[in-house]
Symmetry: D2
Subunit: 412 residues, 4 copies
């Protein structure tokens, strides 16, 4: 269904709020090959609409700058040549002001277009573009956090208002689910990515899911039990990574001069919130923790089964905390959505009968179905309207710059 002008404007405006108060300099460098500059995100999401909507369906649309296609195409081979990914941080030009003008130029043309009767195919692409932009909203925050964490001054990306004293996480409970054949994947007319489809049957065995994610306090116990020093707990590739990267704790954990555990956050260096879900752990770490705990990670199908009837509520980017928070005392499953993405045991592969769309947008998801694992649920940096129970996020097993944590599972 074609989004309304208002829906379009809301998503686009939300993006700009994330970089409010940051300078052109803050938004220019690239701190790792897997991350991108803030300015690049602002331009790339705009190019998506220009390339796939306006250039295809606009009337008399004139590109803002013919050269931007080369600069801001991320990975679409079908569209043409592009700037090498590891060199995105060298683009001091266009300036931030020029990128904002680019956004305004495209927004104006999009408003014109959306004011007319739009072909269904265009409407679908606008919808895809808005969900695409929401994905980049999350990346803007996690990439900025990574960049600012490289700075020995540990500056804050954002000043976040004082919170109430963090609550204590409730005790971990186990929630049981029956086995049997279940329908998995997206159903219905609402938007979903191609990788959530087709809906199909999975045979599940009975299982139990932890009521909440693993907390920082629990992770400290893993560290203190020598979890990072015992190869028996790790996948072989994980153990190689532990040694070559010298991992001894989640990303962004540090020890202050007084010996206290602190963590780099979007609000700068902060005391570690012991009852909040552990975040910035890799799949390898999540898997090792589960083995140490005598449990396992859930499959993505188990997770989806458990989440399918829950409301999408939780600590999202809209809350403004921009950090995971302790679970409130409750019954049933807690924090299934928001706070931290949850690593599953499932490699990211195609669902049976999966087909990519024809043309360049067919490159959106399908070609990345190798070497990654599925995460479910969304994080404190995800927009609420972007999430659903069938949503499949995915990253390589050694990555940890996202708000990624874990929830334990066990056989019933």
């Amino acid at each position: 269904m074609t989004p309304s002008i208002d829906a379009y404007r809301q998503v686009r405006a939300a993006t700009l709020r994330l970089v409010d108060g940051l300078s052109d300099a803050d938004l220019t460098p690239q701190s790792a090959e897997f991350a991108s500059p803030g300015k690049w995100h602002l331009a790339h999401t705009t190019w998506f609409f220009e390339q796939f909507v306006l250039a295809a369906f606009g009337t008399n649309y004139r590109r803002f700058d013919e050269r931007f296609g080369f600069l801001f195409n991320s990975y679409y081979n079908a569209v043409g040549a592009r700037h090498e990914r590891p060199r995105r941080g060298l683009l001091t030009r266009p300036t931030l002001a020029e990128v904002l003008a680019y956004r305004a130029h495209v927004d104006a043309a999009m408003a014109d277009l959306l004011g007319t009767r739009v072909p269904a195919q265009a409407g679908t692409l606008v919808e895809l573009g808005l969900h695409h932009e929401q994905q980049h909203q999350e990346l803007i925050l996690t990439d900025l956090l990574h960049l600012f964490a490289q700075n020995p001054l540990r500056p804050a990306v954002r000043v976040v208002g004082a919170e109430a004293a963090p609550a204590a996480a409730g005790p971990l409970r186990w929630v049981a689910f029956d086995g049997g054949n279940v329908e998995t994947g997206h159903a219905g007319e609402a938007f979903a990515f191609d990788n959530e489809q087709p809906r199909h049957v999975i045979a599940l065995r009975p299982f139990r899911l932890a009521s909440r994610p693993v907390t920082n306090r629990e992770w400290i116990a893993f560290i203190e039990a020598g979890g990072y020093a015992d190869p028996q707990l790790w996948l072989s590739d994980g153990w190689d990574t532990v040694q070559s990267q010298r991992w001894q704790a989640p990303l962004y954990w540090e020890t202050a001069d007084d010996g206290a555990r602190v963590q780099m956050t979007l609000a700068g260096l902060q005391p570690l919130a012991l009852d909040a879900p552990v975040s910035h752990v890799s799949f390898f770490e999540a898997d090792a923790y589960a083995r140490w705990a005598g449990k396992r990670l859930p499959t993505e199908f188990e997770w989806e089964r458990a989440a399918r009837d829950l409301p999408v509520e939780g600590n999202f980017v809209e809350q403004g905390a921009h950090a995971p928070r302790a679970a409130a005392a409750s019954t049933g499953l807690q924090q299934m959505f928001g706070d931290v993405w949850e690593w599953t045991a499932s490699p990211y592969v195609a669902y049976p009968g999966f087909r990519t769309a024809p043309g360049a947008v067919g490159e959106y998801n399908g070609k990345f179905m190798n070497g990654q694992y599925v995460l479910r649920g969304g994080s404190c940096a995800s927009p609420r309207s972007h999430l659903r129970a069938s949503y499949r996020n995915f990253f390589q097993p050694g990555q940890r710059w996202q708000f990624s944590g874990l929830r334990l599972a066990e056989d019933a």
Copy 2:
């Protein structure tokens, strides 16, 4: 069930036949980090019995050389420190004669042990050790082929007798299978690796399987259609590999001075057998070929469903051809076992309820369940008694030094 002395001797003797006629020098270097020297295989398989059987269950067993544990432990962290894998090719000592003496020393002690009433646990480990040695028999051949292929003289590893003129592959037919819940994984008392278990239910959709693997002739069509030059056909990681490795054909394919396609084999450089199954292709290539052909790779569950009632017959190492051969004219599925391992679409992960064995042998399979894909069926370098329908072989998606090919599938 504890293997008999005869069974033990047969497997051990088969290993030595594979290196018959090769010198200490031929068996010493290491041509790639993923490969090992022939001499190392001879010693490592021996160490397996020494370490896990004789040292644990032998009476008054004296190790042949206390230092060999360090040299010939492959990857068992629980056993202790070990020689670094990429440096295996620098061990000019022990000499081949010393390694053969090591084998004789261990064989004598094993004969003594197997002549007594052996505890069940020991018997299980002997059985595991024999299957382990069979795996290394295949690796001896593929690693030697890789080493000899690096030599500009392209020497033959073995002189293989003249074959009858290769047959033409029959036309490709499609064999249909119903969907529904099927039991998957090993059942019964006979030996199987831990990764083939537990048996569990998979929900399948109806599918069709090609009657035979893709042939070299068909692969040439893929090349000539520009398959290696079109990013739209490839997974993103696959395309990166095509470019960085400059792949333009399967491994070992070359062009002779007269323009003819030739292939490095265990018998040296040979004309490409057009009707034989394509071999030495990576998962990335197999996946791209299937996409180009408008088909897909089967899942390992589909493959196992199709193979479960077939006899384990085909072109194995015992035939002595040591190369894939064209399928004989036949009905039904052909070449499901032997000739080439068949890449499946399934990442190599644990079956539901999978548990590793306690102790060092628990490292045998489980810790490698990341970043690899399952292959099924066995090859021209596999011992026949080593294979079964539930057998799961696995390699990284970019590897191609095994006898690895593919069979197409499609939704019914």
Copy 3:
């Protein structure tokens, strides 16, 4: 001799003029490990005065920010730990405004200090600091050029006024010099770096020097004669570099869509000035060119012998062209100073009797006396007052982002 306040201010102001009109974003990224961000240069040169002058000799001096020592120490082990060099481009903070405030803070304290009777040792360090800052002035330009050249938009660092039509380079003449023992190295009381001393005797053989540097036009002849494709012309390490870096022309040379040769400059992409000295060539290229031409590079001693009585006149940074220009018609040696640094055949090693200064400033030059070659004369980016006949610049033989060219020599 202690510099005056005016002298201090002039050098400091000249630095700021070089970044006039550039944004914080322009001055933040780092385009290569060998280059540094503009903002880093502004801060590092300031830190040099803070660390070596104000902290040691100031009265009640308070550091602007205690953490800047870690951020802006370049390579002085004796001073303490420091930010890793390859990560300088990730410092979006301090902001440009903060760095300018840092400069003002130090300048004010320096003015106070220089208004008093300064100990001789402090005066020497102020003088060193100003020459140090002049070195970084040249690096600011060459590092910005490198950064902007990575941008597919090829933006101009500076708008340089239209020049008169470039003159034609005069014909190349040979100027002869006698052999014999000559004094080499700095003499007298004026400032010189430690590496120009002690003055000592070198036995020279008679030689001839080209009247002017090799031009772009002459370099094109080298290219068209296959100079980049003939290993016989190159040092072994040079040939390896040609192949691994795929060199086919000097750095920054490109071919326009219409086939014309163009060059990235501080004024953006410009037509190649055929009669200007070739620039941005490595030692390896200079050496190969000389071999191709049947000549050789001069030693640094020959160069100094030829330059010792010449005035320091030429095309320097003060002229504002910021690019090499064709030699004016003249007699004798032309362009010995300015336009392009001239690679010599001399490895950068200590003069006999060389001693480093005690303490951290002893690390200034001495520890780099390995693996580099001496360049002489100065460039279009060098401040005139920074240069003299005994001045030794030095870079690794594969580097080419400086304004580096060559002048031929031959035995008499």
Copy 4:
């Protein structure tokens, strides 16, 4: 002057004696890119005669195997394509027996040729070939030592007879030399490499040279004073190497289980000979040691001045010790020849007026005149007849697998 058949045979036979008792396997692998397999040395030195003498001047000479030119050309671009250097260790074929047959084939043809009246140019090339083979004799030993040192079994390359108890090194004395202009470089009609020529004048300042090289005992004092932990002692590139390679002692030094210092040698692991010259140190280490000792390395010109009137006597390969030995009590300079090569402060560059020979042999020395330092004097692995006062050996400053030590110098 054309060597006699006897001279030819003596050198060729000496080569074979060095590999006596070693197997094909021992002579096949390559333990580092800078080293070569023993079998490769045997073949390459043979190819040198085949390519440059027999193919050019032989009558009806038939190559042993046309493909050997590709395999055994080391680095002569003018001769044609060649096997990549880092892959020399993968050549299990030709076998050692075939390589020995190759040697016999070429030796027979050389005997025929040398039995005739040989053109002067051919005679010069035969002489060059014999000196070339002598260089490889030393490399055979140092490369074998490196290979065997990688083996955790630390096997001996050779069994060396029990020596008399090692003598104590005499006290270090200083020998003074006047300054002034001295002739440097080879003079006379006897053989010398092109890089020792032309003879030319160097202006020297008065200097003193240590009477003997630095000993292992003295090096221990350097280690215990923290020499490997103090960046102030090191060149910048040297310090980077210390850290990246984790150097804490010379190559091949180890600590035995009982805490004693031991050293891997051609005779296996041996107690460290405290009074023998330190060996297997890099230029970086030699330079740091000299700085720590308050001295410096001599230039190659100072060394040659001091050695020019000394007889070529010492501990060479012919002595059969194959390890440096303590200096005998004596007066004057000791151990200038033999025992260990002595690093000098001189980069390896061309002498004034140096010209390479035309054709492929012009690649012998000249193209390596970059990034290396000169060593003088010869070692316990050098043939005595190969050495002279003007001889220039050269290696990269971080290399230490040769028998390389140092002798201190100071200004007079």
